[in-house]
């Protein structure tokens, strides 16, 4: 199932794949910014969880 999903992603247009890579970069930068900001306060788990949820939801579109 997982392999079939990965192959399906591989068949997307190059433009669409590059758009998804952009999303991954944005997400990882955001995670980094959140962790940098909260390094002394602890990681805001609820906010990170919400981001992960949004990313998962958007990737299904």
């Amino acid at each position: 199932m997982k392999d079939e999903f990965r192959r399906k992603l591989a068949r997307l247009s190059f433009e669409e794949k590059i758009r998804k890579v952009g999303e991954l970069i944005r997400f990882s930068r955001k995670i980094k910014a959140v962790t940098d900001l909260d390094a002394l306060k602890g990681i805001p788990v609820a906010s990170v969880r919400e981001e992960v949820h949004d990313l998962a939801k958007n990737s299904k579109k």
């Binding site: 192959r7 591989a10 190059f14 433009e15 590059i18 758009r19 999303e23």
Partner: protein
């Protein structure tokens, strides 16, 4: 925290590389590295683009100062080994040997209406085999399972460049 959208400016990168060819600063180029692999595989995170070029200048500097100066005049800026466009790092790497052959045999594509060239999967695999870092081995596995690889062509490239695939 504001949710800033981010789009990889790949069309701008390819347009700039085409301009370098038109200006005679480079002879030819192709997209290599992770973004070339993504042309054939599922998308995965990468933080820069690699443009591999055949230099017009056969001196030791390979014309890199002129390339940098041209791109800087177009609004790019330099940050360590990268040139940055729209917050996205790009490396311009001089082709030689296997990578020069990969540029010459690269697949012609169009990205967002911009004509360009991208390394073929067989050359991406051979280059990954020659570098051999953990991420290169993962890339080989990914291409072998997700891309249409011409095995005869790959074997020929590997043989001529005295390379082997992992576990062979």
């Amino acid at each position: 925290m504001p949710d800033e959208p981010f789009a990889i400016p790949l069309a701008d990168v390819l347009r700039a590389a085409n301009e370098l060819v038109s200006a005679g600063l480079i002879k030819d180029y192709a997209l290599g590295g992770a973004l070339a692999a993504i042309y054939y595989t599922e998308p995965f995170a990468t933080y820069d683009a690699d443009i591999i070029f055949i230099s017009s200048d056969k001196t030791l500097s390979a014309g890199i100062p002129a390339i940098y100066s041209h791109l800087q005049s177009k609004g790019w800026h330099v940050e360590r080994e990268h040139l940055i466009i729209k917050d996205f790092p790009v490396q311009f790497l001089v082709a030689s040997g296997l990578t020069e052959e990969a540029v010459r045999k690269a697949k012609r594509i169009e990205y967002d209406g911009v004509p360009a060239k991208v390394f073929s999967p067989e050359y991406i695999i051979a280059i990954a085999a020659s570098v051999g870092r953990h991420k290169d081995l993962a890339r080989i596995e990914q291409l072998m399972t997700q891309a249409k690889v011409d095995r005869a062509l790959l074997d020929d490239i590997l043989r001529r460049h005295n390379l082997t695939l992992p576990k062979e």
